[in-house]
Symmetry: C2
Subunit: 207 residues, 2 copies
């Protein structure tokens, strides 16, 4: 009972967020119970409403954390890599955040779309920023860049949240590595085609 010796409340909060991300990713909002999340985080269920108000508040905190992470990723992409390498880097980033992306994709599909808050505060700016960046980097119109970003975003989210076995079946290959190579290759070709550049193109400037 009472406080846990030596454990900072902020650590509890963080552990709960991690546990909640995994649990919401696996089971969705309603099927994830506070008890499961709490168990995973090493506390009891009542601690969750204490920190996050209620279950929805915890869920919102998870979603916000993923978007913040995404916004922080954009600027790291500049440099001298070929377009194909950029696509690979994006996919690698997504692979490391499989759970978070699955939560986002679920939330989009569960609510029938982005809720207004997310669409206006998150998706809009993220799309705008990325399209401008890509557009100026590869010297193509912003609309073209946006079209490409939207298309590849959908593909990345779907492929990365698929089970590796399902991607193997999809591409008719045997190992997860082969499937990954197919995925990145297809996305690089599709993206380059939509931009009207070669997959080997390197951007003009490194903004």
């Amino acid at each position: 009972m009472g406080r846990i010796k030596g454990r900072k409340p902020e650590e509890t909060r963080e552990a709960v967020l991690v546990a909640a991300t995994a649990t919401f990713a696996e089971r969705g909002f309603s099927n994830a119970t506070l008890g499961m999340i709490a168990g995973r985080a090493g506390v009891t269920a009542a601690t969750l409403p204490y920190h996050f108000g209620d279950k929805q508040g915890l869920y919102d905190a998870v979603v916000d954390a993923v978007y913040r992470d995404l916004v922080a990723f954009g600027p790291t992409l500049g440099g001298t890599k070929s377009f194909a390498q950029v696509v690979d880097a994006v996919y690698a980033w997504a692979e490391e955040r499989r759970d978070g992306i699955r939560v986002i994709l679920r939330s989009i599909i569960e609510t029938g779309g982005l809720d207004t808050r997310v669409r206006e505060l998150r998706m809009g700016p993220v799309l705008d920023g990325m399209s401008r960046l890509i557009g100026s980097h590869y010297g193509v119109a912003v609309e073209k860049a946006r079209e490409m970003v939207v298309t590849l975003t959908h593909l990345v989210m779907r492929f990365v949240t698929n089970r590796p076995e399902d991607n193997c079946v999809a591409f008719g290959v045997k190992t997860a590595e082969q499937a990954r190579a197919c995925i990145v290759d297809v996305m690089a070709r599709v993206g380059a085609d939509l931009l009207g550049i070669s997959p080997d193109a390197r951007g003009a400037k490194a903004d």
Copy 2:
């Protein structure tokens, strides 16, 4: 109480399936209650377990119906249309089955992938059939065709289950019609590029 005068049990079953498809599409498995579905279908909750065993049985029936519908669609696609027109027809087909597709997409994401039964009995055959059809129709290798089918399937499912407003934001246009045109255009270009054909290409034979 008792039977409903003049109503065939098969009609009840069908009404329940339609109501369940819409309700599962909107709310997912756990958040759709038997009471909601029953209300929509004009019966009471207890009628559902009677017809479908339990809630999961009802859900499975919904999923199966969508896949059966999908399998029946393939053969209607032959003809003399251009590739772009085929893409448009596929998208139109999907638009009319938004709820069913949303259920499928949810089920994929909710379970972390296709369950074995669906992957082996449904997805495999559907992919194989479509890839062969497309491959021979446009004279390209089956692997290429498969890659294209997988990619466009993901895009169709995501775009069609998105709210029209979200697609407008995505493409930066004002009306749902404009967004639809962008979607079909992008998919036609992407698909043609992956097949190495022109969007205007017409198939060789009408098998």
